[in-house]
Amino acid sequence: MKRTEAFDFYQPATLQEASQLLKDNGPGGRFLAGGTDLVIAMKEKGLLPKYIVDLKRVPGLSGIRENSDGSIAIGALTTLYTIETSALIKKKYPFLAQSAAEVGSIQIRNRATIGGNISNASPSADTSPALVALGVTATIASASGERKIPVEEFFKGPGQSVMNADEILTEITIPKTAANLVGEYIKFSPREMMDLAYVGVAAVYNLAADKKCTGVRIVLGAVAPTPIRAKRAEAVLEGQILSEALAEKAGQTAAEEAKPISDVRSSADYRRAMVGTMTKRALLNAATGPAKSWYDRRDRRY
């Protein structure tokens, strides 16, 4: 581990102040939340920020609240562990709680924030597919105001997002969803824990009593420069009665839509095939309800 170069460290008390610091100090600055990506990048990957703006003194950036319109707002500094264990999230969107639980170790999840996980824009981030599938909106603030953008449009490439250097992700909002919405997130990696996803698949849809599926969203992680929706695969199931054959077909279609690469972890071929398998399983698992325990989840992934 190397000694980092000297840098300036700021702890602003307001968002405006934080954003202004970036404007005033110019390029080379980074915001700090949980630090689980930033600090490692500095110590082990040679990232040398000129200055760091710590957001943890800014009040009001963490917590989960249900709005009167049925939407749920999650502050950007809310830790992944908080999301993983939130009674509200577990009840309404168990697959989102699960996607947060897939990240790193419990120590990491106690530091890492949802805002950081999104802003870091890693193609393999575990929470992103579920958020995109839920149609979540991100609120982005700067000294000059605030804007809202769907998370689906947030990512531009590995480590790249639509945010300008002085903008801060402050909150994400899950819109009100139908009462019969079901979902599943599968992280496929050989070790299953303390590992990076080879393939991540989130599947969300409204399931009618007759098993008719509407509002189908299938989002793939780790198989393209950003999380991507498999729109043709969604169309396969949209308005149809769920069946194993249809789930299989949707999986095959999703596999065609994926744009995986080969690396030390896996070949592109294998990733593509696993997109097919995991999409099928995610679609079928969603209909059977959330896994009862971690072991249950592990077993039914197979």
Binding site: R3, P190, R191, D195, Y270, M274, Y302
Partner: protein, 766 residues
């Protein structure tokens, strides 16, 4: 030994005597050692796999404030070369670098960060050379040579290792050949001949504590605190490197955070000593995980195995050609190769056998000793092939093995120790526990078996120990066995307590210090319970004899009338005397001590294939039940049963711990672990992309059974343990995968992607 004999201390799961210290974080490891004025060392490592070193200039680094010393190849000039088997290593590269990670220079500074900063100021010019990074590349005609000099050799544990003359101008550096019977005649007689090639990946030990040394070079004396498994051998290496008598070198061994063979012989300890000499102060040189990945690994191997079988299913002949990739420096490679070559016949009666095992240099990380020492590469091959043969000839794999197993008292090879265990009984028990005969109804599920055997306890061992009684009657054990986490201090203390008739916690184990502790060659090869166990037992018996002789004089009786029990001396007619009383009677004051000595030395025999008959046979049976996910290629371990022949479990819980740990260790190379190289660069020297087993990798149902027939040469009939559990794992799983899916795998690890590809090929062929 009387059958009715009961024991008070051995055979019981006493609380580990290092447990409280360790769970409270107070236990001292080498990385924790902090001395006044101590500097911190860091190593500059080569980015190239093979390059000539044109220039190394440390002058700018020396000028950096906070830097005490920069060591470059100039400092090698006054030193001798070193290495476990061959003397082919230098403290830093001299003429060229031979692998990406090869030390080029080193710095000692006020702290690690300053040392790392200084490394960037060292100017090095390289001229890249063509490289060889696999067995095939290294063996190709006109392959670039890793070492130009061919006249290399050395001695390890009393045995000479060297390259045959005809290897000159090649990357081969050692060959072990052995034959018994007439293998060609055997193949001629055989009805069926099977020939298969298996490969084994490069894997790393991943000790929780990476390699670490604190060195202090003062005048003509070197003191080392070292995370080593063989302090006395390390002392010998250092004495040779620095032209010093062994008396000038002192090695102190704090607790060691895992060894697994990776901390045997000599690694960067001499470099730490040179840093200290130049910095004129103690220097701590602690590796990162990544540096340990670039220091030593297990040998990747290719095993060609040819077996001839008679019409009635009897093994007639086996010939193996084995290539072990030892990387840039030989380390223990020749000896590991010898063991792989010797162990490839398995626990079977084979009248005609021949083996040729080769050690190959490549431009990759050196490979050395690693738990099992050449065995895992060959057990994977021979136990997989046993199933291939059984299926072809229409036998149940269990029956086919039983038909060919060695019997107790049989000879593995002429001149070696006869087999000391009932192999069939163990195999039957493993089969019973896994439910071998029960039908499986679910698809893609099946069971697999394997039984493996290796010579145990190391070939040729020299060991000694001492047990002291102080003036107050308290007892101290001095043992050279390193506590690497295996629980040696606890088990050896149990032996002392049993012999002296005292409570387990009345024994204290002294800090291992080569200046005080009696000699022991090393902590390896599942040897300690037998080799050191006997030394310790004999030392305790010696002390006991002295005590009873003195007591007999004081009590005016015969020593034979007296016993030691319940923490005192007792005799007929309620005769009783405490130790402290006796000590006062002997020394006429509260002073003095009694010291018992014990030693062990293996036999040498020109008739034995390895020059010395084995201390005992280490035997393991494994049975696995797996389910294969055809869509993903994942192998789910539903159940694993491991049987270990421990002779007698001195500490049953720790024996189980050793065995379970061994199985987990082997699940690593069976299913997930593999160091991946591309263009001479290691791509995954970190724990994200190099996957070691986690709790999640545990078989759902996991059973360890200790076989205790009191048949070992160690104290109370104990054998050694530690490596056995690993041996059957890969083949038991591989065999189960075949029986579940029809896919026969030849290359470890059985990663999901590999299995998925294999299954894809099969379905295409259908």
């Amino acid at each position: 030994m009387k059958k009715s004999q009961t024991y008070n201390v051995i055979g019981k799961a006493e609380l580990r005597n290092d447990g409280a210290e360790k769970v409270t974080g107070k236990a001292l490891y080498t990385v924790d050692v902090d001395l006044p004025g101590m500097a911190h060392g860091k190593i500059l490592r080569s980015p190239y796999a093979h390059a000539r070193l044109l220039r190394v200039d440390g002058s700018k680094a020396e000028q950096l404030p906070g830097v005490f010393a920069v060591v470059t190849r100039e400092d090698q000039k006054r030193l001798r070369m070193f290495g476990a088997a061959y003397k082919d290593q230098t403290i830093v590269a001299v003429d060229k670098v031979r692998y990406a990670g090869d030390p080029v220079a080193a710095v000692a500074a006020v702290d690690e960060a300053t040392a790392m900063q200084a490394l960037e100021l060292i100017e090095v010019e390289y001229e890249e050379l063509p490289m060889v990074t696999s067995i095939d590349e290294a063996l190709a005609d006109n392959a670039p040579l890793v070492h130009d000099a061919s006249a290399i050799g050395g001695e390890l544990m009393g045995q000479r290792y060297e390259a045959p003359k005809e290897f000159s101008g090649t990357n081969l550096c050692y060959r072990f050949s052995y034959a018994n019977g007439d293998v060609e005649a055997g193949f001629k007689k055989a009805e069926h001949i099977f020939e298969n090639t298996f490969t084994f990946p490069r894997v790393q030990h991943f000790s929780m504590e990476p390699h670490a040394t604190v060195a202090h070079y003062e005048g003509d004396r070197i003191t080392l605190w070292a995370g080593t498994q063989e302090p006395f051998t390390l002392r010998e290496h250092l004495a040779d490197i620095f032209h010093l008598p062994q008396s000038k070198i002192r090695v102190i061994v704090p607790y060691v955070g895992g060894g697994y063979g990776g901390k045997l012989a000599v690694k960067t300890e001499p470099l730490a000593a040179v840093l200290s000499w130049k910095a004129k102060r103690p220097v701590r040189l602690a590796h990162t995980i990544e540096e340990s990945f670039k220091t030593v690994t297990r040998h990747p191997a290719r095993v060609r195995i040819k077996t001839g079988v008679s019409k009635d299913g009897k093994l007639l002949a086996r010939q193996c050609v084995i290539h072990m990739e030892t990387g840039a420096y030989a380390d223990a490679g020749p000896r590991v190769t010898q063991k792989a070559g010797y162990r490839c016949f398995g626990p079977y009666r084979i009248p005609h056998m021949k083996t040729d095992a080769y050690t190959v240099y490549t431009n990759t990380v050196p490979a050395g000793a690693y738990r099992g020492f050449g065995t895992l590469q060959v057990t994977w091959a021979y136990e997989s092939q046993m199933d291939i043969i059984a299926e072809k000839l229409g036998y149940d794999p269990l029956d086919f093995r039983i038909k060919n197993l060695l019997k107790k008292g049989d000879l593995y090879t002429p001149g070696d120790t006869p087999v000391d265990c009932d192999l069939k009984a163990g195999l039957m028990q493993a089969a019973e526990e896994i439910g071998w005969k029960q039908k499986i109804t679910q698809p893609n599920r099946a069971r697999g078996l394997a039984v493996c055997m290796k010579d145990g306890g190391g070939t040729y061992k020299v060991s000694s120990a001492a047990v002291k009684m102080n003036a107050d009657g308290s007892v101290v054990l001095l043992t050279g066995t390193v506590e690497v986490g295996q629980g040696a201090r606890t088990a050896l203390s149990q032996v002392v307590a049993e012999e002296l008739g005292i409570a387990f916690d009345a024994v204290t184990v002294a800090q291992l210090d080569t200046e005080i502790t009696p000699y022991d060659v090393n902590t390896n090869a599942s040897s300690s319970m037998v080799v050191m166990g006997l030394s310790v037992q004999r030392a305790a018996q010696d002390l006991k004899r002295q005590i009873l002789r003195h007591a007999a004089k004081v009590l005016k009786t015969k020593a034979e009338q007296l016993q030691m029990a319940g923490g005192k001396i007792v005799g007929p007619k309620n005769l009783s005397m405490s130790f402290v009383e006796l000590m006062q009677k002997i020394f006429l004051s509260r002073a003095g001590e009694l010291v018992g000595h014990g030693a062990y030395q293996s036999l040498k025999s020109p008739k034995a294939a390895l020059g010395s008959p084995t201390n005992f046979w280490e035997i393991a049976w494994g049975a696995a039940e797996v389910e294969v996910d055809r869509d993903t290629g994942e192998i789910k371990l539903l159940k694993y049963v491991s049987l270990a022949d421990v002779g007698r479990a001195i500490h049953p819980v720790m024996c189980e711990g050793q065995d379970e740990g061994g199985v987990m260790n082997a699940i690593g190379h069976s299913l997930m672990e593999e160091m991946i190289y591309k263009d001479g660069q290691l791509l995954n020297p970190n724990l994200v992309d190099y996957r070691v087993p986690s709790f999640n990798s545990l078989p759902k149902d996991f059973e360890t059974i200790l076989v205790e027939s009191h048949n070992g040469p160690g104290p109370f009939g104990a054998k050694g343990t530690g490596e056995g559990g690993l041996m059957p794992v890969a083949a038991a799983i591989g065999n189960a995968v075949y029986r579940a899916t029809g896919l026969r795998m030849y290359d470890l690890p059985l990663t999901p992607e590999k299995v998925w590809r294999g299954l894809g090929k099969i379905s295409q062929d259908l």
